[in-house]
């Protein structure tokens, strides 16, 4: 792993400090902040195959939803009969002891982290053989089909949905629950950031970029592109599943179309945030997610019922006018910030050619 540069170290330290202090300073916005961290994780992991690999997926929402369902149902299923829980509306009949709650959550998150990559690995060979827009449409279909399918399974509450186990009563009030969940999300973010930052310094990223730029040539160079593509997707799936598990616990109520497999919201948000910040960069998705979340939280209530209209307009505006995102814009204006050597003569020569 390349060492941090001094500037980067200051920035990361400041952000870290802010995130550590934030839940105590902005106590009322703890869950919103936690949600923002989750969005950053989702954007960063979408970027692995969307931005670096050039495989624009609408289907990562599937891993998110699978993780969410798995985490909650394992947390329940380890100690209580799952079918009775979903039938009775859960928390009234069975109560998790604090000990059971945390152990169950641990097991649930483990499953939420491990099963989605397995699914990605299994379907990856077929799906990732599709390229470009075929891949995009196919994953769109997968995302919606998995939502429809989850709505047909009685064990996890079918279309009615199911409730997640509530935070154990003995351990304190909403305040304690908020802080606990916030720091879980925080840990996930730190883990994701460290891992992805390391990943982007390896040869792996170069291979992914080669696939994005020209897959045929990459193959001709002797790279087994399929293996790298599947690995990339599995990494995405791992973090998406974990994020899904945490969101399920945070929201407390899971429903197939509106919460878990919500391709119209979360599935598009991932793509949008990454594009807003800049595809194929480390910091782009982070900036995009933060900007998008702040915009959403501050203005969403203003639209009151017109949210989807605003979302549609937002998608169109971002995609049409900022397809390169903020980082792309900066890169064009200030290439020296990105360590690119700019030859002024060369630049002038280019301008005069135009």
């Amino acid at each position: 792993m390349y060492a941090f540069t001094k500037k980067e170290l200051y920035i990361c330290g400041a952000i870290l400090l802010f995130l550590l202090v934030a839940p105590f300073v902005f106590a009322n916005f703890k869950l919103q902040l936690a949600f923002m961290l989750i969005l950053i994780v989702l954007a960063m992991t979408w970027n692995i195959q969307g931005g670096e690999m050039g495989y624009n997926s609408f289907g990562n929402i599937m891993f998110f939803g699978v993780g969410m369902y798995l985490c909650v149902s394992m947390q329940i299923g380890v100690y209580f009969p799952l079918a009775e829980w979903t039938e009775s509306g859960g928390e009234k009949t069975f109560v998790h002891e604090p000990d059971q709650y945390f152990k169950g959550l641990g097991i649930g998150l483990m499953f939420a982290a491990l099963v989605p990559p397995i699914i990605a690995g299994l379907i990856g060979y077929g799906i990732l053989g599709l390229r470009g827009h075929y891949f995009a449409i196919c994953t769109l279909g997968i995302g919606i089909a998995s939502g429809e399918l989850a709505g047909g399974i009685e064990l996890i509450g079918a279309g009615q949905g199911m409730t997640a186990p509530p935070f154990p009563k003995g351990l304190g009030d909403l305040e304690a629950r908020g802080q606990f969940l916030y720091f879980l999300c925080f840990a996930l973010l730190i883990m994701t950031f460290t891992f992805i930052r390391w990943l982007y310094t390896t040869k792996f990223r170069l291979v992914l970029n080669a696939i994005r730029d020209n897959e045929d040539k990459a193959e001709a160079m002797g790279i087994e592109t399929m293996r790298y593509k599947i690995t990339g997707w599995m990494i995405s799936a791992f973090f998406c599943g974990l994020a899904g598990g945490l969101v399920g616990t945070m929201v407390g109520y899971i429903e197939p179309v509106e919460v878990a497999f919500d391709g119209r919201e979360m599935g598009v948000f991932m793509v949008l945030m990454t594009i807003l910040g800049g595809k194929g960069t480390l910091w782009g998705p982070i900036i995009g997610a933060v900007g998008f979340h702040i915009f959403k939280e501050s203005f969403w209530t203003l639209f009151l019922g017109w949210q989807y209209v605003a979302l549609g307009v937002l998608i169109i505006v971002i995609v049409v006018y900022f397809p390169e995102g903020l980082m792309g814009y900066l890169r064009e204006k200030k290439p020296e910030w990105f360590g690119e050597v700019v030859d002024d003569k060369d630049r002038k020569a280019q301008i005069s050619l135009d």
Binding site: N56, G126, I127, G129, L130, R131, G132, H133, Y134, A136, I137, C138, G141, I142, I144, A145, E148, L149, G152, R264, V268, V271, I275, G305, W306, Y308, V309, L311, G312, V313, L314, I315, I316, V319, V320, P323
Partner: protein, 297 residues
């Protein structure tokens, strides 16, 4: 699972006939999608929403006391202008770009239209009654609503008229030239911008006709657009671009498949089956091409 449909011949005949009539309607929508895909290299996710919007125009005529079947003349005219407006506002900025940009942009349009229709037209499931009656076949064992037959006939007529128009008219020639090579067409004096605008408008008009037919044969709801998009996408990738008989045949097969899935699995899984079929078809094509070391382009 209920295999009754295979044991009683009348039910089988019913399913096949229903499916064929339905499939012709799907093929009409797919024709529009193939047109703009071939000419502008754009996949329009909002295709289904255009259909539903066209349907609502027919429905409002029905509300106003006019027979909804007249919608097949009114709604394409309105939808043509809607299409041109959408083109001028959004699509002309994404035509030459990466295809994913156009998918995402039209996805935005789709969400926008869905929600606007939800506000404007209400979120209830509505039907425009055509009162065409039904036709009984084979000793009254097979029932066919005349509205379905009407919709199939109108779709076929529409496709024929459009094909002739594409072959004979000046605009049709310009559209075909642009599809073959936009740059060369531009050099030879074709106003490609206008061609694109009218292609998108024609596609929207086709969706308008299809929507009016959907309104009298099925039900309308602001949120059911996406399955129509997926169906037409499926039909186009099976048939290939610019292959009209192929579009008709794969449309009908899709219709028949859906009817049988309806009988076998139940109506609640209908949409899920459509999406699964999409994935299966794409995977089938992918593995078939992979044998020749090629991929879908």
């Amino acid at each position: 699972m209920d295999f009754l449909v295979f044991q009683i011949p009348a039910l089988t005949a019913q399913a096949i006939l229903d499916g064929v009539l339905l499939g012709i309607l799907f093929a009409l929508i797919a024709y529009g999608m193939a047109l703009q895909w071939g000419v502008m290299n754009i996949i329009n996710i909002a295709q289904g929403e255009l259909v539903i919007m066209g349907g609502y125009i027919a429905y409002f005529m029905y509300q106003a006391g006019i027979h909804p079947a007249w919608g097949i003349f009114v709604s394409p005219v309105i939808m043509f202008f809607v299409g041109v407006i959408i083109y001028k506002l959004v699509i002309n900025k994404v035509v030459d770009r990466d295809m994913f940009i156009s998918i995402l942009a039209t996805f935005g349009i789709s969400i926008l239209m869905m929600q606007l229709m939800n506000f404007g037209f209400g979120s209830d499931v509505v039907v425009a009654q055509s009162d065409f009656g039904t036709t009984m076949l084979f000793n009254n064992s097979v029932t066919l609503p005349n509205s379905k037959i009407f919709s199939a006939v109108v779709s076929i007529l529409c496709a024929i008229v459009l094909t002739i128009y594409m072959k004979k008219s000046k605009l049709g020639r310009a559209i075909r030239a642009t599809a073959q090579n936009a740059r060369a067409a531009k050099i030879l004096g074709v106003d490609t911008e206008k061609v694109y605008a009218s292609t998108f408008g024609i596609n929207a008009a086709l969706c308008g006709v299809a929507g009016a037919l959907v309104a009298i044969t099925f039900t309308l709801h602001p949120y059911v657009g996406l399955p129509y998009t997926v169906r037409s996408f499926m039909i186009v990738i099976v048939a290939g671009l610019g292959n009209l008989p192929g579009v008709a045949i794969s449309g009908m097969s899709l219709g028949v498949f859906e009817e049988f899935a309806d009988y076998l699995l139940g109506t609640e899984f209908r949409i899920a089956t459509v999406f699964f079929l999409l994935v299966l078809i794409l995977l089938y094509r992918r593995f078939k091409l992979a044998k020749k070391r090629e991929y879908l382009k």
